[in-house]
Amino acid sequence: MKTRKYMDKIFKAGIITFSILTIAPLFIILITLLKWGINALNLDLITRIQRPVGERGGALNSIVGTLIITTIATIIASPISILAGVYVAEFPDKLISKITAVSSRLIAGIPSIVIGIVVYLWCVKPMGGYSALAGSIALAIMMIPNIVTATAESIMMIPKDYREASRSLGANFTRTTLKVIIPFALPGILTGLLSSFSRIAGETAPLLFTSFGNPFLNLNILKPMSALPLLIYNYATSPYREWHQIAWGASLILILIVFLVSIISRLGVKKWKA
């Protein structure tokens, strides 16, 4: 009798302990980032571009680069992924639909560096050089699985009543999808976009072979462009303390961007639903 009571207590204690253990890394990371990065947060960081050691430099070109590359990646990935998601959800029995669903899952399993190398072969080489566009393409490929799945699942959750109501009014498949199904599924789709964005914002490996990096502020997507993960990689592995500082600052900014996008999207979805 007594052993059972003790076993119960030990088990409960165990569960709590392990829960804390899983949360711990998150806290450790955040605290470390804040500790080291908060000193680096100054106006220079966000207003100045990279400069050689000794001169006052910042991360402006990388911040701009990250924003441009991820935005274009989203623009490339969204239409095809959303439509693919619609197809998978509405016609689950067709062969192409089944292939699409499986392929989407497989893409999710491909290592990001492999995607980078392949895009190098197919985009960078033919284009004659590194470019932000190639980087966006690589990141777009990585976004596909999340968006397709989110879209398909959101749509499949819609009760068939609304589809039938729309069709019964004389609307065809296209109009029903565009004006009833997608608006309905929009919160789910946006959530998918958001989680994809969070995923790719910090990807380094693909960008190494595609966007490559650029010490100058560049707005031309057909040319190499810098990005925060690239900056962090280069500066953190350098021997210079100033650059280490900047790397911490850039890390903090990267996290802040992801958080900000997350919060804005969630608020946007809430307001939409109202």
């Binding site: 609304y162 039938e164 109501a165 009014l169 109009r175 009833v180």
Partner: protein, 252 residues
């Protein structure tokens, strides 16, 4: 002189290998209420949904036979055209939740890409909301989403939505089975008023409802049309023994 607006000829419907409707022949009278009644699973909804070709949204359903709307074969028309002439109201009220009440009424036009001038839109919305007795209740809240409406009001909104397309026929699939008695009574009265404007075909498992509002009754049993006739005849002196048993409550 009454005229026939819809003729169903030798209709057979199969779900895969399983036959659900057997050689249905039916003539629907214009501007009258025809009720299709029968025990659960007898094929009433299947028959109704054949008329506006809803089965084509699902694979595995095979429909054989002919259906004529005012002498035109509906299978020779584009399905969207059929559905603009034959509207439908479903068992569970389903106004579009992301559209306002105003937009819900004209949803048929929006979804078919038909552009209307503002005056035309306003007129259609007011006319049809008045027809279903909702105008006074919602005229100040037209641009809100319809989710705050009660079940009965939502269903009346769905009826307005179907009416707005000026169909020849409105099909109703057990429209009051999810509503309370007061809401049900309101909708029954509404349907009796509406038949001056549009032909009504209603599926119901409620014998009382069929007897209260219908002019003609079709009794379906196990996928077969057992008896059809004016309500006064069917409910007082049915000819078929099975009809008699059903009305006496021998089986549900």
């Amino acid at each position: 002189m009454e005229s026939i607006i819809l003729t169903v000829e030798n209709l057979n419907v199969f779900y895969g290998e399983h036959q659900v409707l057997f050689n249905i022949n039916l003539k629907v009278h214009e501007k009258k209420i025809t009720a299709i009644m029968g025990p659960s699973g007898c094929g009433k909804s299947t028959l109704l949904r054949s008329i506006n070709r809803m089965h084509e949204l699902y694979k595995d359903v095979k429909v054989e036979g002919r259906i004529y709307l005012k002498n035109e074969d509906i299978f020779q028309m584009p399905p969207e055209e059929v559905r603009s002439k034959i509207g439908m109201v479903f068992q569970k009220p389903n106004p579009f939740p992301h559209m306002s009440i105003y937009d819900n009424v004209i949803a048929g036009y929006i979804l078919r890409g038909i552009k209307l001038k503002k005056e035309e839109r306003d007129e259609i919305v007011e006319k049809n909301l008045r027809s279903v007795g909702l105008w006074e209740e919602v005229k100040d809240k037209l641009f809100k989403k319809g989710t705050f409406l009660s079940g009965g009001q939502q269903q009346r909104l769905c009826i307005a939505r179907a009416l707005a397309m000026n169909p020849d026929i409105i099909l109703l699939d057990e429209p009051t089975s999810s509503l309370d008695p007061q809401a049900t009574a309101k909708i029954e009265e509404l349907l009796v008023d509406l038949k001056e404007r549009v032909t009504i075909l209603i599926v119901t498992h409620n014998i009382g409802q069929a007897s209260r509002i219908s002019d003609y009754v079709a009794f379906l049993y196990n996928g077969v049309l057992v008896e059809f006739g004016p309500s006064t005849k069917i409910f007082t002196t049915p000819e078929n023994k099975v009809t008699e048993e059903f009305l006496s409550g021998k089986f549900g």
